[in-house]
């Protein structure tokens, strides 16, 4: 830890102490919720109403306002989990373990949403619910990686060991994600011939792009809200008899 300046290290340790983090999360969540709605409402309006219909796909393309941000989040959260895992393993920071565990079901949720919307989108585009498209297949494997994390954590009784196990797994997974991604792409071109991927549009009209970015921001904020709430619960579950939890419950009562 010596290569981190002392004041910075002190700051991290203070912020990462469970009672302090709990109070901070409590304060942050309402603000994040307001911000989330501020991005979500114009994003949805812009995407579903204001943006023009696609000249090829008509209105069915509008599912990208859910699909694309969800797919981005699915990858983003897994990378974040690996970072948390690294911090948890190197500095033994409990908060990082808690954030990693709390992120996994949310990430799995986003991955699932990306898969379902991708498959719904496939129906009007390809006339079938599922095609072995490279992105959809990668997303499916990512879902398995998420499920591996959650089920491993659930299976190990001692929660400290479980947190170490999933930290290792998340790091191994994140090294593998690019390899899996490229191998699946390669497999896809081998077996189906080069198809123009639906997301590789060289340019997207600005009136379509702005709502997409708004939705991406809204999804990030939704994740922040969800992970903070879930981390709060996880912290209490981990040390139910700690002094700060007791005083917290007394204050609430």
């Amino acid at each position: 830890m010596s290569f981190i300046p002392a004041p910075l290290s002190r700051f991290f340790h203070r912020t990462a102490s469970p009672p302090h983090f709990y109070a901070l999360a409590d304060k942050l969540v309402p603000w994040l919720t307001v911000l989330f709605l501020l991005l979500l409402i114009p994003g949805l309006y812009g995407g579903l109403v204001a943006a023009p219909a696609d000249y090829q796909q008509g209105d069915s393309y509008r599912i990208i306002y859910i699909h694309v941000p969800a797919a981005w989040m699915s990858l983003f959260i897994y990378v974040l989990m690996a970072v948390m895992g690294g911090i948890a393993l190197v500095w033994r920071m409990k908060l990082a373990e808690v954030m990693l565990i709390s992120s996994a079901p949310i990430g799995a949720g986003f991955t699932f949403v990306a898969l379902v919307t991708g498959s719904l989108w496939g129906k009007p585009m390809w006339g079938t619910w599922w095609v072995w498209d490279a992105r959809l297949t990668s997303e499916l494997i990512l879902l398995f990686l998420y499920l591996g994390v959650t089920s491993l954590y659930g299976a190990i009784e001692d929660k400290r060991s479980a947190a170490r196990a999933v930290s290792i797994l998340a790091l191994v997974g994140v090294v593998n994600i690019p390899i899996i991604h490229y191998s699946v792409e390669w497999w896809n071109t081998l077996h189906q011939g080069p198809t123009v991927s639906k997301m590789d549009k060289p340019s997207i009209h600005i009136s379509m792009l702005i709502p997409l970015l708004l939705m991406a921001g809204a999804f990030k904020l939704y994740y922040a809200i969800a992970v903070l709430q879930s981390a709060k619960l996880e912290l209490i579950k981990r040390e139910p008899s700690a002094q700060w939890v007791k005083s917290l419950l007394e204050n609430k009562a």
Binding site: G148, S151, I168, L169, V172, N176, I179, I180, S183, V184
Partner: protein, 224 residues
């Protein structure tokens, strides 16, 4: 004693153990043959279909056989306390673990090399794809052991870790499956395969260096 001696002591001990338990040793091999046999029974014996499916069938079966054999990698060491003694050794655990993986591959991966070409013949894989099948098996079966070791190390402390093990390991096997069966597939149609072979070789070298570390860390977690 030196690290090299410790490494070979582990390899020798595990080979000796495998030899003393040789009845168990053949099980993954039988499993492999059996799974391959199931395919013609399930999809019909049309030679064209089987020939087209042969690389995939062989590789999926090899994957499942490797998965099945993985459980034995650390299980008995965990149960009888040998794993604790390995952890207490002054030598780096990752190197000792590599010794165990190497012995495991010699016992479970190498026999696949001998049987797979025979099965490929049964499925009607063209002769020109045989050398490629061999090369992919030589490169990719150690990969399966190396990657799988991480999963076993994470789940060896669990009483019912088998299902979770497959959930953890199979997604990580995807690139191996794609490149190995892809190479055999291309070789069967007379296309060059050096790209796939090189990628498999790169993955093997990478895995040799990288996978023992998380495996050792996971074993320490499991012994806890």
């Amino acid at each position: 004693m030196s690290l090299i001696q410790a490494f070979f002591a582990i390899v020798r001990r595990d080979l000796l153990l495998a030899f003393r338990r040789r009845a168990e040793m053949a099980n993954p091999l039988f499993f492999f043959v059996l799974v391959v046999t199931l395919f013609p029974l399930a999809v019909g014996a049309q030679p064209n279909l089987l020939q087209a499916m042969a690389p995939g069938v062989i590789w999926v079966s090899a994957l499942l056989a490797a998965l099945l054999s993985l459980d034995g990698l650390f299980r008995s060491d965990f149960d009888d306390g040998s794993l604790e003694q390995l952890l207490l050794s002054p030598h780096p655990l990752s190197v000792l673990v590599l010794g165990k993986i190497f012995a495991h591959w010699l016992v479970t991966g190498l026999p696949l090399l001998l049987v797979a070409p025979l099965l490929a013949l049964f499925l009607g894989l063209p002769g020109q794809a045989m050398p490629t099948l061999w090369v992919t098996l030589i490169l990719a079966t150690p990969l399966l052991s190396l990657i799988g070791a991480i999963g076993v190390a994470l789940t060896v402390g669990l009483r019912r870790g088998g299902m979770i093990l497959s959930l953890l390991v199979l997604p990580l096997y995807v690139p191996v499956l794609i490149f190995a069966s892809g190479a055999v597939d291309r070789a069967a149609s007379g296309l060059p395969v050096s790209a796939q072979i090189n990628i498999l070789l790169a993955m093997l070298l990478l895995a040799l260096v990288l996978t023992p570390l998380p495996t050792a860390a996971a074993l320490k977690m499991s012994v806890n």
